[in-house]
Symmetry: C2
Subunit: 352 residues, 2 copies
């Protein structure tokens, strides 16, 4: 394997010139540059990673702290992991994957050994050990997600709160006065993930502000759990004309199936919004209005901010990505009120 001396010899220059030519940290004569480039190509030279780490100030590696919990939804998790890896590569960084149960152990290890230049913290909990750790550790970090205490942290995430407000506002604009929300399973809230709470809080506040009736139901396991949650909503809101779903794809699929089974048409009988979804809602039947949760967006920005931290250009702060609303036809005007006493949705249960 060729080293920098081989390249220097082949190009007829000193090793410092090779180093500078490669890093671009000082100007190099055009012919010199070309001879070096040529030598690098011919020899297939790549700087030795260890030497670079030792001599330089940078390792060109980021740690990605991505704990996989029992209830983690794999497709979304995967999307974020991939998005971080790809964003990092764009800045010529490689990604070291930290998945350990002991969330903080790996971070301390790579920090102390100077293996990485910085950390991306994924799926931060409201009261996350890792967030606390970042205060003590001498390592720039970007947190994807917003823990309860963001002091001293650089956090990036979709604005789930605004996304909820946007959903409710859209529906209120169309005359809906009774809006249900189908959330994640209860254990997702209990385990302390940050974003479901933010969405739910935003939903409740927006409903209060818009003076619409609202209710929230959290589905149990499987299609039966979703059915029960819908029952709960229809019971609490007999005149429910709109549904906001903030949950993973299988639940949304089950919910649409169940509505179909009950003979409830979207959007004629019920307007539906899929909020903060990291999957494609245009293949649903019917395609759903969506506020997309785009892993690439958060992760690109997160990595970008991490790089900026390394360059000392950015202070801790919270950066919320504004939600975007995409219409696909699943939201319509609220149906005219029915005469009191008659339940609009007979609630004919599916027969499974």
């Amino acid at each position: 394997m060729a080293n920098i001396h081989d390249v220097a010899k082949a190009a007829g220059v000193s090793i410092s010139t090779v180093s500078y030519a490669l890093s671009g940290k000082r100007s190099i004569g055009e012919q010199t540059r070309q001879r070096i480039a040529e030598a690098v190509r011919e020899l297939g030279y790549r700087p030795n990673a260890g030497a670079r780490m030792l001599a330089g100030t940078t390792t060109h590696i980021f740690a990605l702290s991505a704990p996989f919990r029992p209830d983690t939804y794999a497709p979304a998790h995967m999307a974020f992991v991939l998005a971080v890896a790809q964003a990092a590569r764009r800045f010529d960084y490689d990604v070291l994957l930290l998945t350990e149960d002991e969330a903080t152990g790996g971070l301390q290890r790579v920090a102390a050994s100077r293996l990485v230049d910085g950390v991306i913290v994924l799926d931060v909990a409201r009261n996350d050990e890792r967030a606390h750790l970042m205060h003590d550790i001498d390592l720039p970090a970007t947190v994807i997600g917003i823990p309860d205490n963001t002091e001293g942290l650089l956090c990036v995430d979709l604005d789930f709160r605004k996304a909820a407000e946007l959903s409710v506002a859209r529906l209120a604009d169309r005359g809906h006065r009774s809006i249900g929300m189908l959330g994640h399973p209860p254990r997702i809230y209990e385990r302390g993930s940050n974003f479901p709470h933010r969405f739910r809080a935003g939903f409740e506040e927006a409903a209060a502000e818009q003076k619409v009736k609202s209710a929230i139901a959290l589905p149990g396991h499987g299609p039966a759990g979703v059915r029960d949650a819908l029952d709960e909503l229809f019971e609490k809101l007999p005149n429910m004309t709109a549904l906001v779903m903030n949950c993973e794809e299988p639940i949304q699929t089950s919910a649409l199936d169940e509505l179909d089974d009950r003979g409830i048409s979207v959007p004629e009988d019920l307007s539906v919004i899929s909020a903060c979804s990291s999957f494609d809602t245009s293949r649903f039947s019917p395609p759903l209005d969506v506020i997309p949760l785009i892993a690439e967006e958060s992760c690109n920005r997160g990595v970008e901010l991490l790089v900026e931290q390394l360059e000392g250009e950015v202070a801790p702060h919270v950066e919320l990505i504004p939600p975007r609303y995409e219409s696909r036809g699943s939201v319509g005007d609220a149906p005219l009120p029915v005469k009191p006493g008659a339940s609009r949705h007979p609630g004919q249960r599916g027969r499974r």
Copy 2:
């Protein structure tokens, strides 16, 4: 950050003694060892990763080549990625995640820069660029999966062929003479993944050997695709009494739903085996007999073999993990033959 000199000074020894004490590569006086251990603890010393990489012969990092393709099933993929990361940690290795589109680029990069000591190659295709690359590259590797040409490679995987044989044999033992197989969607076979082909080939051969009638159907998209595939099987095998499923969880779920809709009871009317499944089939209704595909098993062994390669103890070879059969009650004796002419399964379609 404390370095080895600080530790040596604190312990009153030379730095080489510290280094040897930490690596265990030569015997150290008991008191000396204790003083060093004490100093390490007090100073929170961690060897600098770059210095270790440069001076030593090892980086303590593995690359994990885990391409995420459009049809990759995230939960299974995730399970393998996590299993590799956890296995690596057990040998004190960290994992660098390579996900790039250009499958080989990242491998060449980390190989040339000596960033990693070895590579785990995940989800290898039958004719995988990466397998070719491993021949040229100076880097030990373990491949999870079996490409068509395994020459010079160290490959580990569940024995999908044997798993298929085992499934058919079990059913044949119970008197089943007409066995269908529900496979993955066609595009999974087309894109060249190695394991679906191995299972299918094993199924076909075992069916021929056991002299049972057999048919294979590959589902299209969604529940409708699964329904059509089942139709196809019942058409090709009007007396089908057993079904082997080698596909991902959503398809198996849809298939069970569909059987239920058709009034077909498992195992009374139809015996069902879930083969090479990396998810829990005991929560299905009914719970399914399963030949589990355990990510930890393949990945532990893969990492172990990679470590052994580094120690120069192991030559290229293919290592197939024998399948295990777990009964859960979804396989029964074949029902008695019906009188010719009467279709056993009226095929009453679900009403969605």
